[in-house]
């Protein structure tokens, strides 16, 4: 394949300054993710998974190291370009859903389109279509607090998808959901991956990780395992 990998990071480091001095949360991570892959990221709490995802999502900047997104160096992008990347190339799904509480589900889903300068009518149709796709078309006018956690996460996924990104980053998307709803959400991710969208997903649960094609394990800010799904997770 001549097209560059979706994600290519090398020697990625991130330190947080704390009252007790600099704390290295990532100590030199190398990773390459090709288009269409489905990667599960696992590891004990505090091992740097979220830190890594935030860097991939262009929400934070690394202390050192290189990050190429679609072959482009993120470190050379200015703030506006980073905003553009967050809005159009990447869909980020949070553990806590992060919907805006006072807006209807449809308006929540349509919000990335506002910042992409899509006109109102088009925003409406696309947001509707995305809600249909995650099975919540009937709730378009409801407020987020009217629906269950699993449904909220599906709305958040619809929002992440609305601008047709080719990379979905999800940090513990099922962390707040029971196993039944977790399965529903994971089925959705699998379907998206079949459509060709690259997915990187952090999870604590082996059942969830089992949906992925590839498993990456973190410990103490380093990758200690990277390979095809090996079934190791099932014993965690």
């Amino acid at each position: 394949m001549s097209s560059p990998p979706v994600i290519r990071v090398s020697a990625l480091c991130k330190s947080y300054s704390t009252p007790a001095g600099d704390f290295p949360a990532l100590k030199g991570v190398d990773l390459r993710i090709e288009a269409g892959d489905f990667v599960a990221v696992m590891g004990p709490s505090g091992s740097g998974k979220s830190t890594f995802m935030n860097l991939l999502g262009c929400l934070d900047r690394p202390s050192s190291g290189e990050y190429l997104l679609d072959g482009r160096a993120v470190s050379r992008m200015d703030k506006d370009e980073l905003a553009r990347v967050r809005g159009r190339l990447i869909g980020f799904v949070f553990q806590g859903f992060n919907l805006l509480p006072r807006m209807s589900l449809q308006d929540n889903v349509a919000m990335p389109l506002v910042y992409a300068n899509v006109d109102r009518a088009e925003r409406r149709t696309r947001a509707r279509a995305m809600l249909e796709k995650v099975g919540l078309g009937a709730y378009a006018e409801s407020l987020p607090n009217r629906i269950s956690g699993g449904q909220q996460q599906r709305v958040a996924i619809a929002r992440a998808l609305v601008n047709a990104p080719h990379l979905i980053l999800a940090d513990e998307p099922t962390g707040n959901l029971d196993s039944q709803t977790s399965e529903e959400v994971m089925a959705l991710f699998e379907a998206l991956n079949r459509e060709g969208i690259t997915i990187v997903l952090v999870t604590h649960e082996a059942d969830v990780a089992a949906h992925a094609r590839r498993l990456v394990r973190f410990r103490d800010g380093l990758i200690i395992h990277d390979g095809a799904h090996d079934g190791l997770g099932r014993h965690e």
Binding site: D80, R86, F92, N98, M111, N117, A160
Partner: protein, 406 residues
Amino acid sequence: MIATLLGQAWHAMGANKLRTFLTMLGMVIGVAAVVLMTAIGQGAQLAVAESINSMGANLFIVLSGSTTSGGVRAGGGNAPTLTLADAAAIRDLPGVAEVAPVHPGSGQIVYGSSNWSTSVFGVTPGYLDVRRWSLQSGTSFGDSDLRSATRVALIGRTVAQNLFGAEDPVGKTLRIRNNPFVVVGVLAPKGQSLDGRDQDDTVLVPLSTAQRKLFGVSFQGSVRMINVQTESAEAMPLVEREMIALLRQRHRLRENQDNDFFVRNLTAVADSAAETTRVMSLLLGAIASVSLLVGGIGIMNIMLVSVTERTREIGIRMAIGARERDILLQFLLEAVIISVVGCMIGLALGIGGALLVNALASTAVVISGASVLLAFGVAATVGIFFGFYPAQKAARLDPIEALRYQ
């Protein structure tokens, strides 16, 4: 895009209606105060300008004054030191346009069963020109009336209303201090003087009649005061100097003696009155502007609170593609909407208040388009100025820090 942003701003403001209302109230009060205060200030200026205009231009008043007798000085106008001959001599000075000697007095006026106490001025026909006073009906008295001291009178509107009601006074006979006088004319209304007296509450009679038949004088030809009108404003300083020199010479005052007369420059008094009201209305406007400023600070305060409260929302918006300028615009727009809507309500209240003052009080209140425009411009500026810092604070947030904010 702007429509969407407006909708969002409206939404955000609607989420906390009481707070939005209270913030707006600061603006409302500020703008209403500015509009009302400038309206009152401009009304006062207009009133002063009108009374100055009614007074006559380029005027001196010369009052006969204190003769020092045994160390006791009598007040101005009491001692009969000025004479008609002095008036005639002043008229011949270069730069003098008109001279009008006056004998002021007062008396009880009776017509039929009505009576009225008012000021009675003995004047020459030239007095009306000097004071720029015209007649509403009838005719003035002339030089022949002056020569033969006829009992004729011109009455002001207030006197006419109080004695004659709806009747036409011209040709009627009334009694001043028990002397019968024929009303030959009614003076056009002049309104209030600078010191707040009703200028229409007066009766004018020929000077000679006043002196000989009404009040009497210490010696023939003496007058209490002389109105002197110069040809131009520029001539006033020269005329003042020449006039003082002339009177001192005519009164045979030695070098070391004080003037036995007073010269008052009425135009200077008027100018300073105009200046006083101008400063007063500026001051009113300035005080009102302070409340506008306080309103602006209120907006800034609330916007800062709002930015802090909505830090997480800002983080979410940034995570899904909002640029700095999108966030900036969002918060700026909220501040501007608050200040502009507040301004419009304030304008309505201010104008309403001014109209109310107009209706209730006799003082004039002037609402000028300029002051309304100014208030509006200031409100928008206040919104942008005080909204900018909080909005910028929001826009400069780091996405990940904002998302972590609980």
